[in-house]
């Protein structure tokens, strides 16, 4: 009964038959529902007419302002999608600390989402994958240059201490990946999804390996190739503008940092087979990806506006579909979620410092969308909604594995 009532709301709310006073009552009822959906959230909710609800206990850390009825009811209808939509188009405003406000919201949401254990069903074939990647990564190198580190690393950094600089932390991350993989000079490495090439160039430069790096983003590959040429590394790093699934060589090492999120559950066994086909008898590999504690779809707004086709898996999903069918042996898993919150904090700071320039390159709606994406992601990692996993693995029968974690780190 109650459920039905809610679902018919968005239609009736805009119908001309609603008397103003009934409308006002409905508005306040809807606001109360929203407050109840984030129990205990330290947020003040304000309507366009000044009506407000304060937190049940203690002071508010931020204020959420609805500029119109559409924003209010669309939140009730589908909060995950429409909160983002309303914020992006300026129909919802947040005063106070955006990240803290989003954390308050996210802390309340999981209860609602916990029941929704349905697997993502999208199939990211080669063409879909290319379109999805183009949507995000081909926004222009000039845009990303405004807020990424100078190496253009667009994945979670590793901060030796919380006070480390972003530049230092990205270098530490690249080096940590190489040390986990115990790269030796002359080895062959395949990288699936190489971004602007920072890791591939780092591996070749610092560890003397030969890299074949795959990426379907035209802009990123062009940038990476220029860098390889400038640094005299073009003979050791080959940037291939192609889907990683088309890799046909044999390699000592497989590495993929921040690509699994774009693969989609349905293609995990294909990824596993690609790894199995690519690795030598004593091969090893590393997957670095955004994950979850519990299986659930990625936030609907993020999928619509930021990362079409993306899915953030649990470890069980990755092990069950990518690792175990190929008799690969998991050697080491590390969760770096607080490091991703810190990375996003740096990105947000740089983004805000250049928000005017971003607005002139795109528009204000774009700025608000990206502000929400960066701050929302930071809130998700800080509140434990999102995880960042590095999974190191080797051939199941290979004994060429480090004796201890500490000996590998040297």
């Amino acid at each position: 009964m109650k459920q039905e009532h809610v679902q018919s709301f968005p239609m009736s709310a805009f119908s001309s038959r609603s008397a103003p006073s009934a409308g006002k009552a409905f508005d306040r009822w809807a606001l109360a529902r929203i407050q109840a959906s984030v129990p205990g959230a330290r947020l003040r909710f304000v309507l366009w007419d000044g009506f407000e609800l304060v937190p049940p206990a203690g002071p508010a850390v931020a204020t959420i302002i609805f500029r119109n009825r559409r924003a209010l009811f669309s939140w009730v209808w589908d909060p995950e999608l429409n909160f983002g939509e309303a914020y992006m188009f300026g129909a919802v405003e947040i005063r106070g600390d955006l990240v803290q406000a989003l954390q308050e919201v996210y802390r309340g949401w999981p209860e609602v989402r916990r029941g929704r254990r349905r697997a993502a069903r999208e199939r990211n074939g080669v063409d879909t994958a290319r379109n999805n990647v183009h949507h995000h990564y081909d926004l222009g190198n000039d845009f990303y240059r405004l807020w990424l580190d100078r190496e253009m690393v667009y994945t979670c950094a590793y901060f030796p201490t919380p006070a480390s600089s972003l530049e230092e932390a990205q270098t530490a991350k690249l080096d940590r990946v190489c040390r986990k993989l115990q790269l030796r000079p002359g080895e062959r490495v395949v990288e699936a999804g190489c971004g602007w090439g920072a890791l591939a160039l780092f591996m070749a430069r610092q560890y003397g390996v030969n890299v074949q790096a795959f990426n379907v983003s035209t802009e990123q590959i062009a940038y990476a190739r220029r860098r390889a040429a400038e640094e005299g590394l073009a003979d050791r790093v080959q940037f291939v503008e192609d889907d990683y699934r088309n890799a046909r060589g044999r390699y000592d090492v497989f590495v993929s940092v921040g690509m699994l999120e774009h693969v989609g559950l349905a293609e995990y066994t294909t990824l596993g087979r690609m790894i199995d086909r690519s690795l030598t008898e004593h091969g090893r590999g590393l997957l670095h990806f955004i994950g979850r504690n519990q299986a659930m779809p990625l936030n609907a707004w993020i999928r619509k506006r930021i990362f079409p086709g993306a899915y953030t898996p649990t470890l069980a999903e990755v092990f069950d579909r990518v690792i175990e069918p190929q008799d690969l042996s998991v050697l080491d898993v590390e969760n770096l979620r607080l490091h991703y919150a810190k990375t996003l904090e740096h990105w947000s700071d740089r983004f805000e410092a250049n928000a005017g320039q971003v607005a002139s390159m795109f528009d204000e709606t774009f700025v608000r969308a990206w502000r929400l994406y960066l701050s929302g992601s930071q809130a998700a990692f800080a509140s434990g909604c999102m995880q960042l996993f590095q999974v190191l693995f080797a051939r199941g029968r290979s004994n060429e594995i480090p004796w201890t974690r500490e000996s590998a780190a040297r």
Copy 2:
């Protein structure tokens, strides 16, 4: 057709109608089948009448001798179970290095087993669990004292270097577990399956925590309580002779070392719920267990003679059933399988040095069974058939987690 033929063999082989020469041909055919089932194994196979098959290439590392026809055909019928049975009762002998011989056998077996991805269906209720534990752990403390370290730690050790002593390595393991868990003085710890109490006593003594340690083995609990009293730790360590599922307290830390193998897949969600019920808001935990790269039942002979009701899971099985349903967050996974091979090497050496005494406590069949179990386990870890996982986790929403692995280790 071929399949049927093989399955009818064990009956016909013993029938009086078999002519001697036909019997001899069958014997040789069976031996050839056994050799073919472990392709490439560097083993010499010898029959009771002196007939032998040498490795297809290179010299043999060991010789496997069949003392009678029953041993031969029962191997063909069910190698996993009957190889162990025949060895235990002296109908199969192995000359040369036992561990190396078993590694050669295990390397060949996985191909056969890979198709058998059926889950273990045994339900280890409280009573079954108690009987299973009694079968193995109540063989007498005097027996285990002959070949374990002086702390009586009957789980994988951590060898800082391969040359470390067993005593040093067991202490290093206990300390590694405590450091991963970041134990703080005064915290409450629940231990599920505490063996002879070494970890519980170590945690209380070295880290000042209060421990409630559960075990259903009467002999182990009695031993552990005596030690607690002798060391003046009885006020801080409570050894409870009960199933861990009956724990009803709230704890800062859950720890279980070498018990999950006895839980059985069907009880994993119960274990997960017990962890969820037991942990405080910022609680964390560690599971240390023997695992697999691919789901398959534990060796049939080991289940029959050594560990009834045991199952060694993959990480996906543990995460899917124990960890993820409770919104626990995996922080760290370490695979120590080579350390278990080394641990078992030490145990075997000590066991062999005391084999005469073991025989006088039990009999020669017992000695051979345990020789096979210890050497077979060593071979399984050394060849990658078995894994040893330490999984560290925390409440999904808790931010009281170490900033880095290195900062936790201090």
